[in-house]
Symmetry: C2
Subunit: 130 residues, 2 copies
Amino acid sequence: MQWLDQIKWDRDGLVPVIAQELGSGDILMFAWMNRDALARTAERGEAVYWSRSRQKLWHKGEESGHIQQVHEIRMDCDNDVLLLTITQHGHEPGIACHTGRHSCFFQALRDGQWSAVEPVIKDPATIYKA
Amino acid sequence: MQWLDQIKWDRDGLVPVIAQELGSGDILMFAWMNRDALARTAERGEAVYWSRSRQKLWHKGEESGHIQQVHEIRMDCDNDVLLLTITQHGHEPGIACHTGRHSCFFQALRDGQWSAVEPVIKDPATIYKA
């Protein structure tokens, strides 16, 4: 598809993706997509990423149930970064982070050190079943 | 400094950085920092990126006057992505994009094609002097 060809994929065939929550505007996570992941995301309206650590497609929420419904896909001026507007399903408030927090960006630089400044909403052990 | 050592720099010694506007929550841009850029950002309280195209430090606004004041620096759960909370100075409303738009993420996927959905606030030719 032509819109997929317009993206400047990096040397690994990936593009960085920012997931922003509809309504709150909170940045919930950052991940990567390859062409296949993005095509599936657009088709099903749910975020499908490329897991660099596992080297496979990762339908977010496939294990945790924390699906991300995609409302809009935006691209930056250089055609090499994507921004998703999403609703984080599976829990209220939404949990995007594998640590059981709302957002992956829970560490803030304070007085020269990183401090966890967001609460764990749910014990990760109860999110991911064995 | 220890907090800089805790970041997982990529194979090029860089970390991806998301710049989010204080108040509006708008994502204004996405760029990269190396260790030196981040140290300077933290020290001066203004965003200093690493320009991959020019291969040099890039104090955002050095040419355009569109300085980014940094209120907070956050890090994600994998220690490999940063999120800045900023105020975009130099124009009201803030212009972060070199195209003269508020945000770099002005292209939205609509009906299978990318459409520019945000207005140009200021002619780029008048932003960057020769």
